[in-house]
Subunit: 241 residues, 2 copies
């Protein structure tokens, strides 16, 4: 049995449940709405630019996306977009918030196995909108598997360091699992933790990075969450004094 | 000296810094924008109704308010509101997010006194938008006074119970300070904690309640935060075994 002070953090969006598919589908509908003003590539580029510019004032999440979509529509239509079309964008955003949570293959089984094995504190460590992420976790049916839920404004090394400090987790006893090298893997490796990258077939532009972690040692890459328990056993073995 | 396990929680908006004034000023501008469609009372009633209806999907905060204002403007103008006017509402929301933090009289002095006295864990316990609240705390200059910051989706008894459990604070060792009987006082008293009500001159309709806590015992009411250290001394004296 691993020591009781080992902790495993899970990213949520596109690690435990699907998320980026929904944003991609909303981008496509947005492109269709603006198609009479600009070609698809221009619309996509402008929407993305607005989203990135608005990260500083708004942060991540569906409300931010909705406001960015409205602003981009006004800009790209030179103010000709109608109030009904703006209401349509608001309705799309609300549909995103109410969308059923679709678990990633293997998420439920893997968490059940880790819980049954015992000896690990399991955390959700995600960013985005507080209410939306709490709602998704509740609807996911996975909430009871986790000892702690941390919803952060952003996931950089100081934010992880703060989480580990607050929960009295030594970095060398911490393993983070997620789909984003930038948000889930690199900052945790930088702190001296271990990390498991499980890529998702879609990755938002903002999450992309050219940086690759050194292979071996504290970094693992998996095709599916179903292979996580084996990696956790290996990691727990190397961690145990 | 009080025991080290005593903890004092502070609400933030309209307890540590001004907030409702800003929303009131935005409501007034919204009324002026819609004045050619409806009288001020109708506009105010509709905006408030939209805000309350949108609390479930959107939660609290400026982004929610902005989306509610846009939706209400479309509805009240029967779709005649222009894209430029909607952009104006987006700009108003962004101005709210960038607005300087104006401390409530006595907040800085009182926190300095409590910190100097020592022996208390000081927490911020607020609701609303994660990024916005973190930003306001950082800009307030008060952040270093606090041991923990808890930003919650809502402030009801189970949410407080969760905070106290996570920080291993016994309810009888906890004192909450805030301007809202509904969100800061009644749920904490219900859990067996103590609470200090410091009313602000404005209170959002949604925060109003007819319920009044029983006076005496674990409930205190103050006109100004400047009187808080004396109350804390009294409370700490009764709490110490």
């Amino acid at each position: 049995m691993p020591a009781r002070d080992l902790a495993i953090g899970f990213d949520a969006d596109d690690t435990l449940w699907r998320n980026e598919d929904l944003f991609a589908s909303m981008h496509a509908r947005f492109g269709a709405l603006l198609a009479r003003y600009h070609d698809a590539a221009t619309v996509e580029r402008e929407l993305l630019a607005t989203e990135l510019r608005n990260l500083a004032p708004y942060g991540y999440g569906v409300k931010s996306f909705t406001l960015s979509a409205i602003e981009t529509a006004i800009h790209l239509s030179s103010g000709k977009i109608s109030a009904d079309e703006i209401q349509y964008l608001i309705d799309l955003g609300r549909a995103m918030l109410a969308h059923p949570v679709e678990l990633i293959d293997g998420a439920a089984d893997t968490l059940a196995q880790l819980a049954a094995a015992g000896g690990f504190r399991l955390l959700v460590i995600t960013k985005g909108d507080l209410l939306d992420q709490q709602g998704k976790l509740a609807r996911s049916g996975l909430a009871e598997r986790f000892h702690h839920v941390e919803i952060l404004a952003d996931k950089h090394a100081p934010a992880y360091a703060d989480v580990l400090r607050r929960h009295a987790i030594a970095p060398e006893n911490f393993l983070m699992v997620g789909n984003s090298l930038k948000s889930d893997i690199l900052p945790v490796l930088a702190l001296g933790g271990a990390a498991v990258h499980v890529p998702y077939h879609l990755l938002w532009t903002h999450e992309r990075t050219e940086e690759r972690p050194p292979t071996g040692g504290r970094f693992y890459e998996l095709k599916t969450l179903r292979d996580l328990p084996a990696v956790v056993r290996e990691w727990a073995g190397t961690t145990r004094k």
